[in-house]
Subunit: 377 residues, 2 copies
Amino acid sequence: MKILSHRGICVKYQNTMVVKKNPSAHAIRTRRRRTGGVASQPTVGDIARIAGVSTATVSRALNRPETVSPQLRDRVGRVVKELGYLPSGAAKALASNRSFTIGAVVPTLNNAIFSACIAAFESRLSDAGYTLLITVSNYDHSHETQQVRRLLERGVDGMMVVGLDHADATYVTLERANAAYVTIWGYDENSPVPCVGFDNAAAAETVVDHLFALGHRRLAMVAGITRDNDRATARLAGVKRAMQRHNLTMDPGLFMEKPYTHQCGRDAFADLMSLSEPPTAIICGNDVLAMGVMFEANLRGIAIPGEVSITGYDNLPITRHLNPGLTTIDLPSEAIGHAAADVLIANQAEGHPIKSRLFDAPLLVRGTTGPCPGGRR
Amino acid sequence: MKILSHRGICVKYQNTMVVKKNPSAHAIRTRRRRTGGVASQPTVGDIARIAGVSTATVSRALNRPETVSPQLRDRVGRVVKELGYLPSGAAKALASNRSFTIGAVVPTLNNAIFSACIAAFESRLSDAGYTLLITVSNYDHSHETQQVRRLLERGVDGMMVVGLDHADATYVTLERANAAYVTIWGYDENSPVPCVGFDNAAAAETVVDHLFALGHRRLAMVAGITRDNDRATARLAGVKRAMQRHNLTMDPGLFMEKPYTHQCGRDAFADLMSLSEPPTAIICGNDVLAMGVMFEANLRGIAIPGEVSITGYDNLPITRHLNPGLTTIDLPSEAIGHAAADVLIANQAEGHPIKSRLFDAPLLVRGTTGPCPGGRR
DNA sequence: CCTTGTCATGTAAGCGCTTACATGAAAATC
DNA sequence: GATTTTCATGTAAGCGCTTACATGACAAGG
């Protein structure tokens, strides 16, 4: 822990003041330097001059060392190190039309499943020399359009957006800008846009099938908010479709939409249990809701799965440690993050087209689901 | 869900091929356009020509509308909308020396406490028109240096790094680049670098005090890995300091460092309980470890806090729903994220110097701590 | 009516890189 | 030995913006 003097800011501050108060030619010219006026940062020109070569050679030595003679390469390298030279990304991006920057728009960062995906995404990008620009949409399509636009302005080389369903303007903007992008989480084989994800509805169906096989007939669903969220919508649709397939009646009172919070899961459970005829199994739109449901059941001394079965969706790392372990959909969040990064990088590096990719999202049966109490009804 | 044709990538791909195979002057010139050769994006020049004004006026109309007559402002605005013009961030950054981009280096994204902070940080940045560049260090100081360098190359207007303890090179790079930066999480009033955080050690001391007051004398600590992690180090130090203050003996066998995972918490508990004389209270370096400890205790039927008290550190949203609720340090992660963003933005916008800021991190007593079993020893 | 501001707009010079093309020396070919 | 080819390096033209300064119209002041 060695700490150097921290004066940069002050100087910068004072400099700004000077400029404001006394816009002399000199002050203005000074201000334009990259660092705000003080010790200006070295540029390729400086490196070139000191190393006694042209700027083109410096650029080549730095970006395609193999095209430069070893002596010059070393000479340039030495000067670069000596001066602590950092290339200007803006200038590079402007001149080369590549920013080595990739954008992502996620609905939220406060859900471990997205964080995990983003972490995987970032990790791959970082290894390939890219930096991640991240923005959050808060599950709001019109806000998302703004964020996409902003990322495009920042000159990202590619972009990842969550979900297939977006505002028209988002797609228009993306296509107009001729952007390289990939959607994640959802998968639709007929999708005209590339998607790296899984079939949310199909996975939800397997949950119902599992519960049906266990004898459950009275199923409830605590879905996420479906507005502007195609994943939540698809999961709900999957559950309904499977129930229809099994000829199960769907009591509207057993279907609800809740924000993805533990508290909402608890509230949902309380509501469901206060019904005259409570469900024997509760399908949750994600693990956070499922955990909330479990917590409330626990508090009320209602046995899981003895009295009620619970299912989640996501397979958050914590869910396997719960007691009993949560039966859930094992969502390949990391694989998706990696694949999304790979496809974007390959597109930039080798010009590979961005192709869709389907992942499995298998049902993971653990302890929260069991036979329907009282046998089949 | 309206989906447009998705042809951009292919064209770009083909175009790259063309260029590679036939580097005619035309193909090359074409390739240089921002979009890769197809329909090129409009520029200020295009807007200016169509609106019948100069590029300077376009720039002013877009960035400082009040300096332009209403008619021209409208005229420019209309053309901008019509052409779907998106300014080039690279060109803006190069010309104005401002990127409207802020960087962050975090140890991991796979810990809800950081995600929450980042979410708060991003939210404030976004409101102010900034975009967040995020990189992760994986708790590795030398990797962190690389990431800082990369962010600087990308031309961030400011940067946030987690913790006060960093590699020399990190600080050297930061100062040399004259960067506006702030460290978060830790706070040290004597720090020469600005820090927005709380006193990790002091908070850890309050945990010990609380346990001591409950009669516990045999304390164990499951700390995080302290290497390259000043927060974990400070927490451990705080615990030791408080124990010394209370004249408690510190059995080395009761102190261990573990990665921040649930499983490690479980393992730690198993180890601790297999000791001939197990602790009556276990202080955990963070909530994830604490939850792991709780899960294992639960599995073994060991009563909390009847037989053993547990404390966490972070106050993750889930911890209040646990049964019993986890006694932990209420870490102001969102406030820190907001404050870090605010200070960086104010520095850019108004030239305010970046000042340190101290937050409270109070002990939150919930159900996992109780009187020492068997009274005081 | 002339001067002096004031203000909206234009002109054009960069910002710091990349890279097409030019150049010239050395190597290869005839 | 004259030629062509190859290759490392240099020259200089942008990339798409911002902005200092120039300009000219018009208003205000004398």
